[in-house]
């Protein structure tokens, strides 16, 4: 835990003297990659953050969007990868806690959680299975205790995460616009630390997250306590209602060092803090330990001197510990004392703003080789291939996971997990649709289009519920940025996301960068994760049961884009080929047309074509409604492709619409009018899923057998294998 030599020189120059030991610790925590974004900050500016609905306030940790009627939604995404890789239960649980407090610090109530989980190959790797099982339990226990529904997410397994875990948590908040906390402070205000006691757990966590996991220094494990978190939520919201909070910040990575310096810097004030006033869990903690501890379930609150007594009363009522640890000053200095002596005194602006880096980048050599690799040939029995894909861990139903989450508590959940996106009822009569998506397999082969693809997929998912995308958050997870090839993949992904944001006019309202995600076998694949929020003004499209005779219409062109597909990677164990690309004009045209058709109530169900391609998307529709279908592959809008490629290509901008016969002409004429590539590709009938190409049978599966495989295989793998 130390500063680089150049950083130390920079600090010395800036403050005009050698920093002492406590100061070094404080600055090292704040200048870690995790807190300072020193590698990424100059590039993140390219993301468009403004929009008609976006509300900006200084010092917000979450994005705020106006949803009308005097209400706002807030959203934030974070990861807890390093802690979860060593202690999956506690790491995943405290990850949930952290992101909830970011939502809370805007003055909104957290109403939903989503989780993106990634582990090694659970079919072969028992350690990956152990991580998976415990991370899911950790999330379930924490979220369920708090009464916040976990409404969605995704789970993926890939060898690149062996001995590691990506645990991403997104949270959505909701509240009245007038109750948003407008962070401000003036000299004489008091600084209060609310919540759990400060202990030695998690010391140097931010630093730890910024190092590779090779080191055996694994002290950064934290024990979750959802009951304190729940009390903090209620105490904070009550204090908000009574107007007792002038400014608030969650204590996360970097602990007090980070919270104090960033708050002071954002408000343009100074803060003087007495470490002896912090309620600690253990005796004899060093000031530098108190300043950098990352103990969970703590909030920093700034309040008026006159309102302090009321705040203390509320904390007492909820039995949340709270200590007055310092005061706001007018000199913009962050000062730390131990009652008598000054331990640290530095301008907050310097502490909060690490020297930024412009790291070199270089296109990785592997890309060209992988694109030109000889592609695998078509298997003989495609029915078998579809069946084994349906049972593969990445495609099989995730019921074992979301079945452990309370996804209905709070009675807002209108569309539950297991569909394209979750839909939540809001108090202003509208509905909010949410989804997170990532695709490291595509991003590994083509970081830019891969990232755009994740973005489009998340949009497609919310569109399939009838929602218009209104905002996005991104979580950019990569390996060691000091490696120019890895840094190049980061920049490319960022450029892709930016282009997509601009073309679709979807503002980026928040996000996070997590670097140094390295396993013992090397860096993880580039894993940008995109969360999209969509708004539904009238009625959401709830999946309806498909009946015999309903027609399946496909929108979008199927292309020769199998690189990074589940079919190549799971069936053929082949990494290579061309990953799907986004054509922005086509993407927007398809999305707008599909959305209009859904909003006009012309379809029974809509589903996007993603992992596993057309074959899996069609099977999912059939299986969930327990009805067969007959699909003619020759009718699919396409480039020239063989049957296997048609079935499994993961090209973007494709949607499946289930339409009643009586409404077919309306849907088709609408699509034709907009000049969208589309076709009627089959009907629902019988009890078998049948794919044919020019009248020749390609694959045939019984719906009940397919369903049994798809529905049970992940659970069986976790519990019985």
């Amino acid at each position: 835990m130390s500063l680089q030599k150049e950083e130390l020189d920079y600090l010395t120059k800036k403050i005009g003297r050698e920093p002492n030991d406590t100061e070094r610790h404080i600055v090292a925590a704040e200048w870690s990659e995790h807190c300072s974004y020193k590698s990424s900050k100059i590039h993140l500016k390219m993301l468009p953050t403004k929009g008609a609905r976006v509300i900006h306030e200084k010092g917000y940790d979450s994005g705020v969007l106006d949803v009308g009627g005097g209400y706002v939604v807030t959203v934030h995404i974070e990861s807890h990868n390093h802690p979860s890789a060593v202690e999956p239960y506690g790491g995943a649980a405290t990850g949930v806690g952290g992101v909830i407090r970011d939502i809370l610090s805007a003055g909104t109530r957290p109403i939903a959680l989503l989780d993106g989980l990634r582990f090694g190959d659970i079919q072969k790797d028992s350690h990956a299975k152990w991580l998976f099982k415990n991370a899911v339990t950790g999330i379930a226990d924490y979220g369920n205790c708090l009464g916040i529904p976990t409404v969605g997410g995704e789970v993926e397994f890939d060898k690149c995460y062996s001995n590691y875990a990506l645990v991403d948590v997104a949270s959505v908040g909701f509240g009245k616009k007038e109750r948003l906390i407008k962070n401000h402070a003036k000299a004489g205000d008091v600084v209060v630390l609310m919540g759990g006691s400060t202990g030695r757990d998690g010391i140097g966590g931010a630093q730890f997250a910024s190092d590779s996991l090779e080191t055996e220094d694994r002290s950064a494990v934290q024990i979750p306590d959802p009951f304190i978190e729940k009390l903090i939520i209620e105490a904070t919201l009550e204090a908000r209602n009574q107007g007792l909070i002038k400014a608030i910040k969650d204590l996360g990575g970097g602990g007090l060092s980070c919270a104090i310096s960033e708050t002071a810097d954002a408000m343009g004030v100074g803060i003087e803090l007495d470490v002896t006033k912090v309620h600690t869990r253990e005796p004899n903690m060093k000031p530098s330990e108190i300043m950098t501890s990352e103990s969970q379930e703590r909030m920093l609150v700034i309040t008026d001197k006159k309102k302090l007594a009321k705040l203390q009363q509320i904390c007492k009522k909820f039995r949340v510990s709270c200590s007055v640890i310092g005061k706001v000053t007018g000199n913009k200095i962050m000062k730390v004392t131990d009652n008598k002596n000054v331990l640290a005194s530095m301008p907050a602006e310097i502490v909060a703003n690490a020297p930024l880096l412009n790291r070199p980048s270089k296109q990785p050599a592997y890309l060209k080789q992988l694109e030109n690799k000889r592609q695998p040939s078509q298997p003989k029995d495609l029915s078998k291939t579809i069946l084994s894909l349906l049972a593969s861990p990445n495609i099989a139903s995730k019921i074992w996971v979301y079945g452990q989450y309370d996804h209905e508590v709070g009675i807002r959940t209108v569309v539950k997990p297991g569909s394209d996106a979750a839909v939540l009822r809001l108090d202003n009569g509208k509905y909010l649709s949410v989804k997170i998506d990532g695709n490291p397999k595509h991003c590994y082969l083509d970081p830019k289009n891969g990232a755009m693809g994740c973005f489009e997929e998340a949009c497609r998912n919310v569109v399939c519920t009838g929602a218009t995308p209104i905002g996005m958050v991104d979580h950019l997870q990569f390996g060691n940025p000091e490696n120019p090839e890895i840094f190049w993949t980061f920049l490319e992904s960022l450029k892709g996301i930016t282009e997509f944001c601009k073309h679709f006019e979807i503002p980026c309202v928040g996000g996070k960068v997590s670097l140094y995600n390295e396993t013992p076998h090397g860096p993880i694949k580039p894993t940008p994760l995109i969360g999209v929020l969509g708004l539904i003004d009238k009625t959401p499209l709830k999946p309806q049961k498909i009946e015999l005779g309903d027609v399946l219409v496909m929108v979008g062109i199927t292309k020769d884009e199998l690189g990074g597909s589940e079919y190549y990677e799971y069936i053929h164990d082949f990494i290579g080929g061309r990953a799907p690309k986004i054509n922005l004009a086509e993407s927007k045209k398809n999305m707008d047309s599909v959305l209009k058709i859904i909003q006009n109530g012309h379809v029974k169900a809509a589903h996007d074509c993603a992992k596993g391609g057309l074959a899996i998307a069609v099977s999912e529709l059939s299986m969930t409604s327990n009805v067969g279908c007959a699909i003619s592959l020759d009718k699919v809008p396409k480039e020239k492709l063989d049957s296997a490629k048609l079935l499994f290509s993961e090209s973007h901008s494709r949607y499946l619409l289930v339409v009643e016969k009586s409404k077919l002409h309306v849907v088709l004429s609408e699509l034709k009018k907009k000049n969208v590539s589309h076709s009627e590709i089959g009907t629902f009938q019988g009890n078998e899923i049948i794919f044919s190409n020019k009248k020749k049978l390609v694959a045939k599966l019984r719906v009940d057998k397919a369903h049994e495989k798809w529905f049970n295989s992940l659970r069986d793998l976790v519990l019985h294998a």
């Binding site: 239960y89 202990g199 934290q222 024990i223």
Partner: protein, 86 residues
């Protein structure tokens, strides 16, 4: 060979948070005015009955089982093994 009972006690490492112990202390013991109590730490205990030659052999056999089956996480927990013959 004779039968031993090996008690395996699993607790959070010293200095780590123990919400369960804290709750028992604050919401039960201190509410009952037992002000003399200063701290409570919770733990989980497993009792293995195992055939073995000596106490030490019984303890190390159980330790190996607990390690292999990941019954505790060494990152978080402190574990103590103590055997007695029964």
């Amino acid at each position: 060979m004779s039968l031993f009972e090996v008690q395996v006690m699993i607790e959070n490492k010293a200095g780590m948070n123990d919400p369960e112990g804290d709750t028992i202390l604050n919401d039960l013991v201190l509410k009952g005015h037992h002000g003399a109590v200063k701290k409570i730490r919770s733990a989980k205990m497993l009792k293995f009955q195992i055939n073995s030659t000596t106490k030490q052999a019984a303890e190390s056999a159980v330790k190996k089982i607990c390690d292999d089956l990941r019954i505790y996480n060494p990152m978080v927990s402190k574990v103590t093994f103590s055997a007695k013959s029964i």
